[in-house]
């Protein structure tokens, strides 16, 4: 497997203060990687650094052969990374279909293949394509948000706490969808609060604390690590 | 004779600067410290002017009023009436972003204008209320002008000291906290709407007082005495140019803008009539342009808001 994304000793934050201190991580092709850690560990911040939403003051971010450090989000989207924020991640007053269309805004030409792909992944959405997205349940909204991001055919999908506020049943469903998405050739980097479930499902994981790398490894290894367990898995 | 005329003009200008400075101070409470957009300054000004006129003038046929109360009662009445008008408007609009207040104050100023024009038994309509008493009005012309300027300056000084003290008190700190970070202030349990309402009412009261001072200086008040849009806008540019958030800036701005405004009027009045009329609108255009330039190139004004203890802290906090 080739490395798709790599962060090397990334330091940065919003404004002048640094939240991340020399954070490093990699994501390979078609890999599902999860970032876990206690509140305020800089998990979402690390993800935003990839997407150009942070002032990166040290280190570098490389994606698919390019140094993308300091790129603006617009350019990063076109390069093949799509980002799903944790909240406010849909256009509430637009229909599901229009949400997807906006996701493909930068794409020229025929979109039918992209629509087919998303609707195949999310058959529920196809049935309700004319429904305003704001009227959907939390889990379905998350699907719209992911669908919107997939419309540009990214190589890497960034998901910020996709299961926040969802019932265990929906959480399982979102994880299953992530596997399906990976099956279509997309790597996924996600931030999760539900550390235990996420580590069971992901290929690899990073544990961040206080803006620094603390542990890394396969999901199973991390779950077995006593220190990790004591830190925040509740023993 | 030449000197006499110049002195007279200077006194005249001094009184107007003092009155506009009061309006600018009032706006500074609302905008500079609470971030509230009042686009109906002339309305509160007019309410103050008419209230004091009704309370202090001699009785007249066909309209209520003529209570012949002391002038000082008229002035407090003016403040009270302006505050009373501000209260319901603030109560309704301050829950929302200041845009709504801007629209509503444009509306209230318009309604006040309509009332003044059409309620003859209250305001004597177009003829206005005349024969208002003026403190020291019995002196010689020049002495009386000078005495009135003295009164205006004393009132302005009192208002300045009170407002300045209030800004440095915990109340002022709280207002700035709310203006600069509404969410944090709310999280700290501040009653934001109530504080804003206070600021809006205090500011309106000062504007009402400005109106009263104006009416007694002229010994009369008529619907045509001020152009509402121009007056409101002049006060805005005074505050923004002088430095919003800074009371001294508000007063300085009033002086600078009023001098520019009235000197340019004298200059353009020398033009032949057909050009003089156009020149008035060109001056309006330029004063609008001045606002755009200040907003763009010197948004903090001539005298920026002083870095009070609490503010120094939050400003640095914001940057980090």
């Amino acid at each position: 497997m080739t490395t798709l994304l790599s962060l090397q000793a990334v330091t940065g934050g919003y404004g002048d203060a640094n939240i991340l201190h020399a954070v490093s991580m990699t994501v390979s092709d078609r890999e599902i990687v999860v970032i876990v850690g206690p509140n305020g560990a800089g998990k979402s911040t690390a993800m935003k650094a990839v997407f150009g939403l942070l002032n990166v003051r040290g280190g570098s971010i490389r994606f698919d052969g390019d140094d993308i450090t300091g790129w603006v989000p617009n350019k990063i989207v076109q390069r093949g990374i799509c980002y799903v924020p944790q909240v406010d991640n849909i256009f509430r007053e637009m229909t599901i279909h229009e949400n997807l269309e906006m996701g493909a805004f930068l794409r020229k030409g025929d979109l039918s293949a992209a629509f087919d792909r998303v609707y195949t992944l999310f058959p529920d959405l196809k049935e309700r394509r004319k429904t305003p997205a704001g009227s959907l349940s939390g889990g379905q909204r998350q699907m719209v948000a992911m669908g919107r991001a997939l419309m540009l055919d990214p190589k890497l999908l960034l998901l910020d706490e996709p299961t926040a506020g969802l019932s265990p049943k929906y959480m399982e469903q979102i994880f299953q969808i992530c596997r399906d998405v990976r099956g279509t050739g997309v790597a996924i980097l996600l931030v999760e609060q539900h550390a235990k479930q996420a580590l069971e499902f992901a290929d690899r994981g990073y544990v961040l604390a206080a803006g620094q790398n603390r542990h890394e490894g396969t999901g199973a290894n991390l779950l077995a690590d006593r220190e990790v367990a004591e830190m925040f898995l509740g023993g | 004779m030449e000197l006499y005329g110049l002195l007279n003009y200077a006194l005249f200008m001094g009184v107007f600067i003092g009155i506009y400075a009061l309006l600018a101070l009032g706006l500074n409470i609302q905008w500079g410290f609470a971030g509230l957009f009042n686009a109906g300054i002339a309305g509160f000004f007019a309410v103050g002017a008419y209230t004091s006129a009704i309370l202090t003038s001699a009785a007249a046929e066909g309209r209520i009023g003529g209570f012949e109360l002391p002038v000082i009662v008229g002035w407090f009445g003016a403040m009270g009436a302006a505050a009373l008008i501000a209260w319901p408007i603030g109560k309704i609009c301050l829950r929302f972003r200041s845009d709504y207040l801007a629209i509503a104050t444009i509306g209230i100023a318009e309604i006040i204008r309509l009332v003044i024009k059409s309620e003859a038994e209250l305001t004597n309509s177009a003829r206005g209320i005349t024969g208002l008493p003026r403190p020291f009005g019995d002196l010689d012309y020049m002495a009386s002008q000078a005495a009135y300027l003295g009164i205006v300056l004393v009132v302005l000084a009192i208002a300045y000291v009170l407002v300045e003290r209030q800004f440095n008190a915990p109340w002022g700190r709280m207002m700035r906290a709310i203006r600069d970070n509404e969410d944090a202030a709310r999280a700290m349990g501040k009653n934001i709407e109530y504080r804003r309402l206070e600021a809006f009412i205090f500011g309106a009261a000062l504007m009402g007082l400005g109106g009263a001072l104006f009416a007694h200086f002229n010994r009369s008040i008529t619907p045509e005495a001020i152009d509402p849009m121009v007056a409101t806008f002049l006060v805005w540019i005074m505050l923004i140019l002088g430095g919003s958030g800074n009371n001294r800036g508000a007063i300085l701005g009033a002086a600078v803008v009023w001098i520019i405004w009235s000197v340019s009027e004298i200059a353009t009045d020398q033009l032949p009539h057909e050009y003089a009329v156009k020149a008035k609108y060109i001056r309006l255009f330029l004063i609008g342009l001045l606002l755009q330039l200040v907003l763009r190139f010197r948004p903090e004004g001539i005298l920026p808001e002083p870095l009070r203890g609490d503010l120094r802290h939050t400003k640095e906090g914001n940057r980090s």
């Binding site: 989000p73 617009n74 989207v77 076109q78 980002y83 924020p85 406010d88 991640n89 849909i90 256009f91 509430r92 007053e93 637009m94 229009e98 269309e101 906006m102 996701g103 805004f105 930068l106 919107r148 540009l152 | 971030g35 957009f37 686009a39 408007i89 309704i92 609009c93 929302f96 972003r97 200041s98 845009d99 709504y100 801007a102 629209i103 509503a104 444009i106 509306g107 209230i108 318009e110 309509l114 024009k117 059409s118 849009m229 806008f233 805005w236 540019i237 923004i240 156009k278 609108y281 060109i282 309006l284 255009f285 004063i287 609008g288 342009l289 606002l291 755009q292 907003l295 763009r296 948004p299």
Partner: protein, 290 residues
């Protein structure tokens, strides 16, 4: 008063002036929803549009309706220009600063009209137009044109907003600006489109007000409050709401004469505005509350 009288003297004039308010209110609601500030120069842009049409009418001797497209294009261009020169650099500052700037722009635009065209009342055509009678309804041709033109212009706008890529981008920007930017929607183009549409509709409002009444330098400023009342009554961000709001405000103003002295006609819009802010700030059609 019988029913026909009510319709002839209150409802029909109310719907006509309401259609004019609607044209302005649609622009206000779009600017409010997409750029997120109250644009106080909106009325004076309508004045400018009306006088641009007057220049075309007197210059080329054509009818005001034929001059309308030119006035729309001219005013749209001015609106885009004002945004580029005066509003664009304030975008990172608190929105209320732009509201203040727009108050200054209102004064500037009006001053330009007053310098070029003076302050006296003007009209497109001289003479009194008597209404035609259809089944007892007294309607003037120009009143029919006004309502039809409003429906046509708003209809075209609705098709644009719901069917075209850039129309949807405008709705997306109104709905969730951060996500719109993350999706790669070009904010600058959306802003420009918004001003083209808002400016064009302003001109239409001004021209139709001029056709139905007369042209004065304060005509637009006097429409500002009813237009904002209409936008908020309908629900900020709702195009169809702005139309509904405009018609209601227009008819309410005419009917107010039955209960209030006619001097206070202009107070109706203000009463509606405060009432809506008090009981239902989202408006009739659940718009945004900023």
């Amino acid at each position: 008063m019988d029913f026909l009288e009510l319709v002839n003297f209150y409802i029909i004039p109310g719907l006509v002036i309401g259609s004019i308010y609607a044209l302005g209110a649609v622009g206000i609601t779009l600017v409010f929803a997409i750029l997120r500030y109250a644009h106080l120069a909106h009325g004076d842009l309508a004045t400018l549009g009306a006088f641009l049409a007057l220049a075309v009418v007197t210059g080329f001797g054509i009818s005001p309706l034929a001059a309308l497209p030119i006035a729309i294009l001219g005013t749209a261009a001015v609106a885009v220009g004002i945004d580029k020169v005066f509003y664009e650099h304030l975008r990172e500052r608190p929105k209320i600063v732009t509201v203040m700037a727009s108050l200054g722009i209102a004064l500037m635009v009006r001053a330009v009209v007053q310098v070029i065209w003076g302050v006296d009342s003007e009209s497109y055509v001289k003479g009194i137009v008597r209404p035609d009678v259809y089944f007892g309804l007294r309607i003037r041709d120009r009143e029919i044109y006004t309502v039809i033109a409003m429906i046509a212009l708003v209809g075209v706008l609705q098709v644009f907003l719901t069917q075209s890529k850039w129309g949807k981008a405008m709705r997306a920007m109104s709905d969730n600006p951060n996500l719109a930017l993350l999706s790669g929607i070009d904010n600058k183009k959306v802003v420009m489109l918004t001003w083209i549409i808002a400016g064009g509709l302003c001109a239409a409002a001004g021209v139709f007000l001029g056709i139905n009444t007369e042209l004065k330098s304060m005509m637009g400023w006097n429409m500002l409050l009813p237009m904002f009342a209409a936008a908020i009554l309908g629900g900020v961000g709702r195009v169809e709401g702005a139309v509904l709001g405009g018609l209601i405000v227009g008819v309410a103003e005419e009917l107010s004469v039955l209960v209030l002295p006619s001097e206070y006609k202009a107070a109706t819009a203000f009463a509606i505005l405060l009432f809506m802010l008090l009981v239902r700030p989202t408006g009739l059609l659940r718009g945004k509350v900023l």
